[in-house]
């Protein structure tokens, strides 16, 4: 099979129809189509408006706490004995993950569009918490759809959302996880077309979401680029991030896409192993298809029915991936590895013990591969890992796997 040709400018995508090569698009019911066009136009106007960008930057600085530090992880570096490992500290953002970058951008857009009701889907609850947070800040009602299974395994985040004034709707249809929460949010949007803004939490779904969420998350990569140039005087050899829907990964990758010397490495959740069917690795274990408004790699059976994803991490437990990643994979610009539940738990503990940082179990998937990457690059090299979130929300899950009760 021939890979599609590499473009001259990777940042020129998506095209006008929302495509990254074969991937992306707008596969939504007709009821939503006019809204999707309206959103596209509103986002284009906001993107080009310096006042919008200035307002966003103000909130990112004073409310979110940006820029986040780029931290040299000396003890992890010594432990693996390869390239220098830097951590981009997105877990230090307000609410504890990168999700707030996107939520802040989209809530300002929703206000600009005159929308008065916000809906969101969430898996781990991090995007739900970030959505509830910005809705509280701007006084907008917030309804968060969350799979009933996830409500059960992420109780502290459900409580946080409630404290922030959001209503959490437990979704029992289908497999009662993130994909079903997204179905239910779409059903809400189809039903409440006039006043409702759908705040999607990852760089997936119908155009313009993959582009818009990427743009809002690209602040991570822009800062990283400037910070590494300042401390190391050079670009990194590799950038590593975990991939659920792909927003933290595309956010840190995007400003490096045209620097072909920088390896871009995404890590998908291998769950109980890629030799089982209990994983969440859309690229490594799926094939292209259409779900939630976009053409992308999906976990599915022979008949095109979507299959359930499995991961210890609720935030990676999704059968799809953003369309830009599918394209970067096909053209060979990015590489997608996997990490199992157990490898991620080990990486979680190692990072806690060596660096005094509890990483989100999602981010721990990237940490599980960082040793291999650092050794591959070798001494004298530099690698950056996107530490997308903090792990306080995961201590109960980790304890359960260690056979402990807390």
């Amino acid at each position: 099979m021939n890979a599609p040709a590499r473009p001259n400018d990777y940042t020129a995508y998506p095209d006008a129809s929302g495509r990254f090569g074969d991937y992306g698009g707008r596969y939504v019911p007709e009821t939503l189509m006019p809204l999707v066009h309206e959103l596209d136009a509103a986002y284009k106007a906001a993107k080009a408006d310096p006042a919008f960008q200035a307002e966003l930057n103000g909130f990112l600085t004073h409310y979110v706490g940006r820029p986040s530090p780029l931290y040299f992880a000396e003890r992890l570096t010594d432990h693996f004995g390869g390239a220098k490992i830097y951590l981009k500290r997105e877990e230090l953002n307000h609410t504890g993950s990168h999700k707030i970058n996107n939520c802040m951008g989209q809530i300002l857009l929703a206000r600009r569009m005159g929308k008065t009701r916000i809906i969101a889907e969430t898996g781990a609850g991090q995007h739900g918490v970030a959505s509830a947070t910005v809705c509280a800040r701007f006084g907008l009602p917030c309804i968060v759809y969350m799979g009933a299974v996830d409500v059960e395994r992420q109780k502290p985040n459900v409580f946080r959302m409630n404290l922030l004034g959001a209503r959490v709707e437990a979704v029992t249809s289908g497999s009662a996880t993130l994909k079903d929460a997204m179905n239910e949010a779409l059903r809400d949007w189809v039903t409440n077309v006039h006043d409702t803004y759908y705040l999607i939490g990852t760089a997936a779904g119908m155009h313009p979401y993959p582009e818009m969420v990427r743009d809002f998350q690209s602040v991570i990569g822009k800062e990283t680029r400037a910070q590494i140039l300042e401390v190391e005087g050079r670009l990194p050899d590799a950038v590593v991030a975990c991939v659920g829907g792909g927003s933290n990964a595309i956010g840190i990758f995007h400003p490096f896409l045209n620097d072909e010397g920088v390896k871009l490495i995404g890590v998908e959740a291998a769950g109980e192993g890629m030799d089982t069917d209990r994983h969440a690795a859309a690229i490594n274990g799926g094939r292209p298809g259409v779900l939630h408004g976009n053409m992308t790699y999906l976990l599915q059976d022979r008949e095109g029915q979507i299959t359930e994803a499995h991961s210890i991490s609720a935030g990676l437990d999704y059968p799809g991936i953003g369309p830009e990643h599918s394209w970067l994979h096909d053209v060979g610009r990015a590489t997608y590895l996997t990490a199992t539940d157990l490898e991620s738990l080990d990486a979680f503990k190692l990072t806690a013990e060596l660096e005094g940082i509890l990483p989100a179990i999602e981010s721990a998937h990237a940490l599980a591969r960082i040793g291999d990457v650092a050794r591959d690059v070798g001494k004298g090299g530099v690698v950056v890992l996107n530490l997308s979130g903090r792990g306080d929300k995961d201590v109960a899950t980790v304890a359960a796997h260690l056979g402990m009760q807390i």
Partner: protein, 277 residues
């Protein structure tokens, strides 16, 4: 044969001076054998056109009744090829009743549009509605259907304004399906007075018959819509009959067909009411 079958049916109904009754059935619900019995009984019970749902795991525009119908069908192993099998078996005994498939994109992508269109036409399918395939993404499927004389039937909705209507109608044939409410299937109720001007608008812009569906559950409502539309579609209320019959251990086929008969009767009587006014 295929597009022609839809056109012939609407032409015949026009001379009768009444609207069509369109019955939606989910393939394989509650199982393949029963679904076939229901299909075979539909014309005699009064269905003029059959909408044959093919199940998908993640039906984003469906309310709980059709979501559950798809789950029941998938649990019994229904597939796209199984759906075509049902159509083929139905066609052996009925050459005139149009069958329109209705479902989601991904099973079609998996099959391949060209192969699907060829196989569906061979099975006696006349057209297809793909809920999550708007005009912006539909050209490849439309090409495949054209090559097999099948209709791509589009949805127009309350959010489809006059500026967008031509986009929706372009490459549509057979009829246009007007979604009477902004929402998922089987939740909100359609209102004939609200729907009427939209039906007229879509009919005028397309020159095609306009079917109305999504919020019609009772014979009264079906009758009211039949006075203003060219066809009345009922789905959720029929799959709910399947669910209830299964739960109460009743005969599924007779329960569904008697509901079809009462709805079809209301549609037939509607225009008579009109002419006596």
């Amino acid at each position: 044969m295929t597009k022609a079958r839809i056109d012939a049916r609407f032409a015949a109904l026009k001379t009768e001076g009444r609207a069509a009754f369109v019955a939606y059935v989910m393939a394989g619900d509650p199982d393949a054998a029963t679904a076939l019995k229901i299909l075979k009984g539909l014309p005699a019970a009064g269905a003029d056109i059959i909408e044959l749902g093919f199940p998908f795991s993640d039906p984003m525009a469906e309310g709980p009744p059709i979501q559950r119908a798809a789950q029941r069908a998938l649990a019994k192993g229904m597939t796209l090829s199984g759906t075509l099998e049902l159509a083929r078996a139905f066609r052996e005994g009925d050459q005139d009743t149009p069958i329109i498939m209705m479902g989601y994109t991904n099973p079609l992508v998996t099959w391949g549009y060209d192969a699907f269109a060829r196989d569906a036409a061979a099975a006696g399918i006349d057209g297809i509605i793909v809920v999550d395939l708007p005009p912006e993404e539909a050209d490849p499927l439309a090409d495949a259907l054209d090559a097999n004389q099948m209709s791509l039937i589009r949805l127009a909705t309350p959010t489809t304004d006059d500026a967008r209507l031509p986009v929706v109608i372009n490459r549509t044939s057979g009829f246009v399906y007007y979604v009477s409410v902004a929402g998922v299937t089987g939740v909100k109720e359609a209102d004939a007075a609200t729907v009427a001007p939209h039906v007229a608008r879509v009919r005028k812009a397309s020159g095609l018959p306009v079917a109305v569906g999504f919020g019609i559950k009772t014979p009264e409502r079906a009758g009211a819509i039949a006075e203003v539309a060219d066809a009345v579609v009922v789905g959720s209320a029929l799959v709910d009959e399947v669910a209830e019959a299964v739960e109460m251990n009743e005969d599924v086929t007779s329960r569904v067909l008697s509901k079809v008969a009462s709805l079809a009767k209301a549609v037939r009587l509607a225009r008579q009411g009109l002419t006596t006014v």
